[in-house]
Symmetry: D2
Subunit: 370 residues, 4 copies
């Protein structure tokens, strides 16, 4: 990171300074076990061959003779290619891994939940952080009006896109650095933390110089170079789930960031692509308790993208809080009808206030801070 | 309906007796409009041909000449085949319907929400009804223990399967009539309304003789003969969404029931099939506010099937309440580990109590009765 | 089956008469094995408890101590509830079955492919059978014209719906028995085998009295009573995959039919529901080689429903043949623009001939009969 | 592009030299039309407001009064934000666009199919190009053996990954520049064109210096900066469909490349993510005729990733040819069991030869060159 970033650094977490990467333990072996299921007609030679293959990987092989077929349990420490290599062996029907392939993100490695703290934004461990603002930064008036309105209603972070990933090359691509400067100005006036998307490795230093939280968008969830680049900054990261990513892929993407030494990762569920067409995406709130079971990282819900329709956002925001979400990211615009992007899923100011009131009632009923 | 059913009738709704079918208005024409989009290179002859085709259906045709292509707006009263017939015309790129094909279920036909009332179970219009009990009726002891436990915790209906639809022909198929009798006994002891599945038209009279609410399972959502048969009874119906059904298909399935004169239909979201494998199905809670927007019928959520894992049920039950659900249906078993079916997604009694406490807190915070 | 059915019987397979149910072996035990994966923190007591549970089911338990967690291999003969029961045990993370739950349909039980023969229709074991005709029987002229046209182009069976399952209760529901009579008339004139859908158990005797092949539609794939009813007839069955059914569910549905003693089951892939909207369904042709690997039953492809657009049908029909399909079922109509249903995906007569020419070229190139 | 790239340039297409970007017509206005459907209860004021909004965008508004509701047809030339902006207007139910948002890729702009020619690889317009080779370049021996084997069996391009996008940060990440050098060596020995993936903008110059075809992987299909970067090179591009991308998104991604002046884009269908778990992805071959209908760009199928299992690849390769594919990309490895990646879906040399024989038979039967 360059000097510009250092100057704007603001979420100093002193207790982490001695070791900026508490999770990165390069010497941790990847513990490993799996079950190799042989076909019903597998010959003794094939079984013997597979046992030798397992042992050649340095694993212990436990063959188990069933009434219909044989399975081989393989146990030890090994790299993740092993499964792929064994699956194409002769007489093998399938290989079932038993350990999750992610480690640092795992609840098994760190029991207590991680709380990401950036200025007044607190996400996780009983605190629900609200990030709100327009899809795109469009003008000074627009972003400052949003910042003051969302702060007044209880948000602690301002979201707003300066670099916009657009499906069409002919669509508005964002105000770029000019937008970043306006976000910084809004922070100066309100104290809100700034959340904004970074789309490519080259843009990381520039965006990190202005933002408090780097958002990795759903389309870039598996852009591994970008994950590595944000993992090398000292900015918190909001990692959005890709619309067809599995939970395991999401956690492995987080692992790319954590593995570079950046512990401040928030996972964001923003909806998956299914056959449903009445909503823009299908928002699976069960991701919240599932991820809480598997990982210590906080889970943020995006009801705006997750539904794609303004009128569905307030109920789904309240539902996300009831499901245990650690944060919400919401699109808010002074005049959604005139928004340059995503107007159809943005709340106006009164709608945002009403949503906050509803969410706060649910949070309070469940003993959470919002 | 036969005499047996009449004797066990219990949810008399006197104000509806003069007209058992307030929604069925056979003279209501199916109002109709659609847009026919012609291909870019469509010839004047093709356009003329399609205008004549539209008019042959008794619709008015409004051709609109665009800069690149022509569209024809067709307006009038017509049956639903029209769209299909026109879509294969020469030079036609696509046909877009503008009116929803369901009518009686539509919010446009009846503005105020429908409340289904069966004994003490009240579902809709501000009341959240809780239906709880085991997947299958397994024994007298089991079902009576369940009935007393769920009643004590606040449920007003007992669910329990006597006829079980099982993916495998080798799996436990239910206690059948013996199970129905045990359900009736549980009702006698507790006053709980009985919810149980009916799987085929032949079984409707038998099941209706014992049950208060007939459940049409997800696999039968488009079993039209069965929909017609339950539509002819005076029992309330819980209609489960098929795992790949669209909202429109669900509402049209409800329409089959309503169209027979049975107004007491509850729609049940129980999860859809997606690429996600960490949950049994993906539970899209946005169905709740969406359906409330489109229909006056109450919406029930099934977090047990919708997640497939006991540990995810309490949070998703609370989230469903926050999303505005009018009812919950939950699997509860005295000893899930020994359940003959669905043990992995059933709550035990203490877990059910805890879930109820959580849901009641959310409902109260949002001004609902539970 | 009643006398009417007996009179119209036509596909006598003498070598099967002594035993009408060659696959049904009630004494065959359900062989069984599975792996129970314990959570990482599972206690010795929990592991001991699960071993006892496994043994209480009459299975042998093989615990395997890994570096991070313990797995228990369970082997023996047991009914299919076992998995469900064990999955909710204390300290259990997951249970992975190792044997497919279907038996009679399995390639492991019968190695050689099954050929279904009905009149001149031959499906499987190197012969590709073509079933073609309109979505619905609409009139005498229409069905006879279709029958003669498809026969001339090479089809050996005539498809046509008399009882139509329609998403909307307001749509055309079919000509019912009148339609069946017209189909029988078409058979009389052309010798084509008749394929038509049966929608409910009550209709089975009537439809079986006229039809050669009973089609179970996609919406009814898991209507278990209907599967049992067609399994009790001596008619061949075309079982369509439900749009969200897994391969295992499809094979288990076939098992319901086979298990009643009817060996003449054809599996039909007609597309699955996915996020894709440019086709009506997504047609996964990999189902063909996959099913050939798993089952001896023949596999038929329906490119009409599988794509939903006439212009995609010829290429996908040819692709299905190249993928190894044992049969095709195609919608053909004299004037698709005027069809009462499915006109947008029907071929007219010249298009059908062209499709047949293309398919025959591919079949010949690959050494198949069509 | 730098000098290194210029030196290795090899697919000079003289007739295109005068204008390297035949499709890029910056002055082409984005023609536009759409239908705004008002809610049933929309007031005259709301309708008037929307007409004014449409006209404020410089579009002509054609209101159409239906029996139940009003629709407004909007016609003119406008940028793509218009739809989004209008959809959130008061009383608006939905907005339906009528024109496809892509232009340069559209069949409407260029009627004749594009053939991409790179050395001996010819893809499109009647020629089927075969790209084959290992998932990853692993060693000199491995890649040279592959190159000679696939050339002998009829491939005209060698695929092989040097920079590997891996789901897990702990998996093998490729040989990087060393791998590129080995690919160049293989080209020197065999004359095969080289196809290899580029994962980030920084790597574009390096990869383009060695490769003939730049592959943009499925995970990067919407990495817009990367699309722009490969669009600025003079290398052909193989653009893989993201596993949850719609056809429209794929074509818009191609548009990003074409729009930079690079006309040599091949679209690659490699399977989508659905609920199916018996294959790694679901391979929808209907993409081939659909894309041929919509775009002039050639369509390549990847049966290796599309199925994820070696035993399914030969049949699906033949099916792809029958569906009209312009090219195939196939994973081939000398010893799949020992491959460092994707061994379970790789063909060995005899399997590849057999696949080629099958595909050639189908291609010949259909009058195509392979």
């Amino acid at each position: 990171m360059n000097a510009v970033v250092a100057r704007t650094r603001n979420r100093t977490l002193p207790e982490q300074l001695p070791d900026l990467n508490p999770y990165h333990i390069p010497s941790l072996p990847e513990l490993f076990s799996m079950i190799i299921v042989m076909e019903q007609g597998a010959t003794p030679e094939q079984i013997k061959h597979m046992i030798e293959r397992v042992e050649a990987f340095g694993l212990k092989a436990h063959p188990i003779q069933g009434t219909e077929r044989t399975v081989i349990a393989a146990i030890g420490e090994k790299r993740s290619e092993t499964k792929e290599a064994l699956a194409s062996g002769p007489g093998v029907e399938s290989v079932m891994p038993i350990l999750a392939p992610y480690k640092v993100a795992s609840r098994e490695v760190k029991k207590e939940p991680t709380q990401v703290v950036v200025r007044d934004l607190k996400v996780g461990a009983g605190s629900i952080g609200i990030m709100a603002g327009p899809c795109s930064v469009e003008s000074k008036d627009q972003i400052l009006a949003c910042a003051h309105a969302v702060k007044k209603a209880g948000a602690t972070a301002l979201r707003g896109g300066a670099f916009k990933p657009r499906t069409s090359p002919y669509a508005f691509q964002g105000m770029k650095e000019e937008g970043l400067k306006l976000l910084a100005l809004a922070r100066e006036q309100t104290g809100l933390a700034i959340v904004t998307e970074v789309m490519s490795t080259e843009e990381v230093p520039l965006v990190a110089a202005y933002a408090d939280v780097l958002q990795v968008g759903a389309r870039n969830m598996q852009n591994y170079r970008l994950l590595e680049a944000v993992g090398k900054t000292d900015r918190a990261v909001l990692l959005k789930r890709g619309p067809s990513a599995t939970m395991e892929e999401l956690l492995l993407a987080a692992e790319y960031i954590l593995n570079e030494g950046n512990p401040n990762v928030m996972l964001c569920e923003r909806g998956i692509r299914t056959f449903e067409a009445h909503t823009r995406f299908t928002l699976p709130l069960a991701s919240v308790p599932y991820l809480h079971h598997k990982t210590h990282l906080p889970v943020v819900i995006d009801p705006s993208h997750g539904t794609g329709h303004t009128y569905l956002v307030p109920d789904m925001a309240a539902a996300a809080v009831a499901a245990g979400a650690d944060g919400l990211i919401l699109e808010v615009h002074p005049d959604p009808e005139k928004a340059l992007s995503d107007g159809y899923q943005s709340l106006n100011f009164p709608q945002f206030e009403e949503t906050m009131t509803k969410c706060r009632a649910v949070a309070t009923a469940l003993g959470k801070k919002l």
